[in-house]
């Protein structure tokens, strides 16, 4: 039971969002919803070819179907392909951020918690992975494993985890010496409880900020890999792949490359601005 006096004593948990963030939050939410409900919102099957309607300009209509953003070189609806492409972008970004975030944060926390040789080994490993050019490693790995969505996620997770490890490591070092962690240890708590109940919640803010900023980067990486033909394979649509093929027609059919580019730009911009806002709110240094 929460009495009224407690409700009064508790300060408002939600501060008003600044107006600069709201539109981008709306864009992100729109893109996410679009990706989730792609079959419902896309006008036509994204892989349905209509060779009689190749490279038609936006607004073209044929047999009762309006191609709002035009058609590509195989007569597929650009709008539908963008909608389905959002699924790939968001899925890859989400999966790789989740994987690398969990992996990196765990290693960073463990390194800072146990110190000694564990710390030395893990943090030197971080230095090594950070010094490897990520995109090069990605190209090599995908070239060896073969291009696929899963491999893209694996590559991104393997190259990006040190970011989280560094942040988790630094924050854990400072939090682990806080009296409340010591007190809990003095009360008989074991390492798992200390890390999960006392340290992780207190460093989560910084990790969430890194994850948001990384999310935007992962969207771009996926697009880059798909652009190079190392990501999603045809006929599945991906913004990067659409940019790649659209490049060949940019003189005659500008819409094929332009609209996925705009979508990509909007998604990354929205994520980055939200990430900046989160950093202002959660980062202990800017508090």
């Amino acid at each position: 039971m929460v009495s009224s006096s407690a409700a009064v004593a508790r300060p408002a948990k939600t501060r008003r969002l600044p107006w600069t963030v709201v539109p981008f939050l709306a864009i992100l939410a729109g893109l996410v919803l679009m990706a989730i409900f792609a079959p419902l919102v896309s006008p036509v099957d994204p892989n349905a070819q209509n060779l009689l309607a190749r490279l038609k300009a936006p607004g073209f209509s044929s047999r009762g179907i309006v191609y709002y953003l035009g058609t590509d070189e195989l007569g597929r609806d650009v709008l539908s392909r963008i909608i389905y492409g959002a699924r790939v972008s968001l899925l890859v970004a989400f999966a790789s951020v989740a994987l690398s975030g969990i992996f990196g944060s765990t290693l960073g926390m463990v390194a800072a918690f146990y110190r000694g040789w564990v710390e030395t080994v893990l943090m030197r490993l971080v230095d090594i992975v950070l010094s490897v050019p990520a995109i090069l490693l990605a190209i090599i790995t995908v070239a060896v494993l073969g291009p696929s969505l899963t491999n893209v996620v694996i590559v991104l997770a393997l190259t990006r985890w040190p970011r989280y490890a560094r942040v988790a490591y630094g924050q854990t070092l400072s939090v682990a010496n806080m009296p409340y962690v010591r007190l809990s240890r003095f009360m008989g708590a074991g390492w798992f409880r200390l890390l999960s109940r006392h340290i992780l919640p207190n460093i989560a803010g910084g990790l969430i900020v890194v994850a948001t900023l990384e999310f935007g980067l992962m969207v771009l990486f996926e697009a880059g890999l798909s652009f190079l033909g190392l990501g999603v394979q045809p006929p599945t649509s991906s913004w990067g792949a659409m940019l790649s093929t659209g490049r060949n027609y940019v003189g005659t059919a500008w819409w094929i490359a332009t609209f996925p580019g705009v979508a990509l730009f909007l998604l990354v911009l929205a994520i980055n601005l939200i990430g900046d806002h989160m950093r202002d709110r959660l980062d202990p240094r800017s508090r």
């Binding site: 004593a9 110190r115 009296p179 008989g188 074991g190």
Partner: protein
């Protein structure tokens, strides 16, 4: 008399090869409050951390024994020690606000020991935590249970920390300057609470402090530490009535008295506690001692029986009373 609950014998702790605790011995009996007194850097906290088995990584136990409830804490495997921590003995710190996890509800922090040691969860743990909050004098415990530390005052946080420490009904509570960060009225309340809980539960308390006022108010017995050693140890009344070590005498004389001349300069003890590794030869207090003479510069006085009760380590124990 039964064996004391905590028996520390000739404990030696070193940091980087330099002794910080150098042959400390004392004991705490069931239900007793022993006060460990001394200036900063004299080894009080290191002694407490040794008892808990959680010294900072740079420090090492170099010798001696710590016997708690019949178990030697220094040879006990870490698993066993962890099972005892919070369960058979617990500790509270001097920073009540920083000692509570800012992102965890008060109630859940108090439950923690029950969850860890008794495997209790959910309703029964919640009930026990609320009862404990009430026990330590926190009003509206059901509401406080669900609040976060920032919603509580410093005194409340200290009460909550005491509740955390006592929820498993430990036999020994180590309190490291529990009231230093609190203002005097809250300090008096907290001390009163600790005394009441001792009377009700029979928990022994090892009270670490540098505040002689707190000592006079709380302790049954006092052990005065200087530069890593116990220099005098006696029941509190005997110690306040008669000191047989100059350090104790001077420490007591630094407390302003109500019948002092107004605006007189507060007495101090000349000099500083020597740094670790730079302890003087002979009696370690000799650079600051008004009685120091040749034997004091040459050899360390042993802890010998005082004329009434307790022990003191001074070559001139009979002359300490002469110090103004």
């Amino acid at each position: 008399m039964t064996a004391p609950l905590l028996q520390v014998n000739d404990l030696r702790v070193t940091i980087g090869g330099n002794p910080v605790v150098d042959g400390v011995s004392f004991h705490v009996s069931q239900g007793e409050i022993l006060s460990l007194v001394g200036e900063s850097g004299c080894g009080k906290s290191m002694t407490a951390f040794s008892v808990m088995g959680l010294l900072p990584k740079v420090a090492r136990v170099a010798g001696g024994s710590i016997n708690l409830g019949g178990k030697n804490m220094l040879t006990l495997p870490e698993r066993e020690r962890r099972r005892m921590r919070g369960n058979e003995f617990a500790m509270i710190f001097q920073e009540p606000v920083a000692s509570l996890n800012p992102l965890m509800k008060i109630g859940h922090q108090i439950e923690e020991s029950l969850v860890v040691h008794r495997g209790l969860n959910g309703k029964s743990a919640r009930k026990a935590a609320i009862a404990m909050l009430e026990e330590v004098g926190i009003p509206e415990p059901e509401i406080r249970f669900g609040q976060y530390p920032f919603e509580l005052s410093g005194g409340m946080c200290q009460r909550a920390m005491i509740a955390m420490a006592l929820i498993c009904q430990p036999r020994l509570l180590i309190a490291d300057e529990p009231t230093t960060a609190l203002d005097v009225t809250i300090q008096a309340q907290i001390l009163e609470l600790m005394k009441r809980l001792r009377d009700e539960t029979g928990t022994a308390i090892l009270l670490i402090t540098h505040d002689m006022g707190v000592v006079a108010d709380m302790a049954d017995r006092v052990a005065v530490m200087y530069a890593g050693r116990v220099v005098e140890e006696a029941p509190v009344d005997a110690l306040f009535a008669r000191q047989e070590h100059p350090y104790t005498r001077l420490l007591l004389s630094t407390i302003p008295r109500l019948d002092d001349e107004p605006k007189s300069i507060l007495p101090t003890i000349e000099g500083l506690v020597p740094d670790i590794g730079q302890w003087p030869v002979g009696c370690r207090f000799n650079p600051r001692c008004p009685l120091a003479d040749k034997p004091c510069l040459e050899s360390q006085p042993p802890l010998a029986a005082r004329s009434d009760q307790g022990n003191a380590a001074c070559w001139h124990a009979d002359r300490v009373g002469e110090i103004a």
